[in-house]
């Protein structure tokens, strides 16, 4: 009755890749952030499938924590975005290159 966990893991890998591609390609900070969420979800998926595979509840507990941390991260991250937006009126990541060496 169980699906081969390999499929879940492959799906997780592909989802993660798409999220990574999104971070690399998109310029809008908010969309980049959302792609990061995609990657976190991919990780969650992998955790859950391993938890099931190993009959260990720890995987699911970890997903729980990932969720909490993701939330906190989004809160602070968006606060930063807002603060920056106040200054520059732009959410383009390419406009923030003052740390150029």
């Amino acid at each position: 009755m169980s699906i081969n966990p390999a499929w879940y893991l492959s799906l997780s890998v592909v989802l993660f890749a798409i999220g990574a591609l999104g971070v690399l390609v998109r310029r809008n900070v908010l969309i980049m952030f959302m792609c990061v969420e995609l990657m976190l979800n991919a990780a969650n998926l992998a955790f859950v499938s391993f938890a099931r595979q190993l009959h260990d509840i720890g995987g699911q507990v970890l997903v729980f924590f990932v969720l909490v941390v993701a939330a906190a991260e989004v809160v602070v991250g968006l606060g930063i975005v807002v603060a920056i937006f106040r200054r520059r009126a732009s959410t383009n990541a390419d406009d923030l290159h003052l740390m150029k060496g």
Partner: protein
């Protein structure tokens, strides 16, 4: 791959409904993910993200992680994405972005190449030998008891310390958001606020005469509104994520 992991898994053949559900959910996930990446409008992007999250929740259910599926929908889709939308709307960046032009040289081709390489590598790694190490059943055997019970028990015994740590983390996040979002103190001193309140229309209308009182008077009013909105949204989000199920309806509704 299952044979290579250290534990024997029940090798019952997957039934058709399972496969079907998996396929559909996978399709939704992938479509949503691609949608997030290619959508021009950030709002579309957020909605695509919601779709993806729902798909993931379905998969969670399929794997008997019921509690997590619920939490996923409520917290992730219901709070975090909503927060995203708040900020998008608030900042007014729901305009479309020109996805075609790429300012950085070589970024796109390199990105695609690296991501493909990485994916291939990971997929190949999946065929690998034993990757799992350590003791199984750390958190407690998945004995078929209700999922919530198991998670609760694990969370409040084995993983108690991380649990408390994450609550501290959430508080810090709230404080951080408030600090980030407020104005610098000079512009929000109470005397100036009082001045602004007492300012007559003539004072407000008088342009830059060198009167320091007039110009900043306008700003604090608007900022206070802004900051209060941001503050409340941050507070709402923090409160929501901490509570789990409780305040879901309040904000979501």
């Amino acid at each position: 791959m299952t044979a290579l992991l250290g534990v024997v898994v029940t090798t019952a053949r997957p039934t058709l409904p399972d496969i079907g559900v998996f396929a559909v959910a996978a399709a939704i996930i992938l479509a949503g993910a691609i949608g997030v990446v290619v959508a021009r409008n950030p709002v579309h992007s957020a909605l695509m993200l919601v779709m993806t999250l729902f798909g993931v929740a379905v998969l969670f259910v399929l794997q008997q992680a019921n509690f997590l599926a619920a939490v996923q929908v409520i917290v992730y889709a219901g709070a975090i994405v909503v927060l995203f939308l708040f900020v998008i709307m608030f900042l007014g960046v729901d305009r479309e972005e020109d996805v075609g032009a790429e300012r950085l040289r070589g970024q796109r081709p390199l990105a695609v190449a690296l991501v493909l390489l990485g994916t291939t590598g990971l997929l190949l790694l999946g065929q690998a030998s034993r990757w799992t190490t350590g003791q199984p059943h750390v958190a407690g055997l998945d004995t078929g008891a209700p999922n919530v019970n198991l998670i609760g028990k694990s969370l409040y015994t084995t993983y108690l310390f991380p649990f408390e740590a994450t609550s501290a983390l959430l508080i810090i996040a709230v404080v951080g958001a408030v600090v980030l979002a407020r104005r610098p103190p000079a512009a929000t001193s109470s005397s100036q606020v009082a001045e602004a309140d007492a300012a007559t229309p003539e004072d407000l209308a008088a342009p830059a005469d060198g009167e320091g009182g007039a110009a900043p008077a306008e700003a604090p009013v608007g900022d206070r509104a802004e900051s209060s909105v941001t503050g409340s949204s941050a507070g709402a989000a923090a409160g929501t994520s901490g509570d789990g199920e409780a305040a879901a309806g309040e904000v979501g509704g």
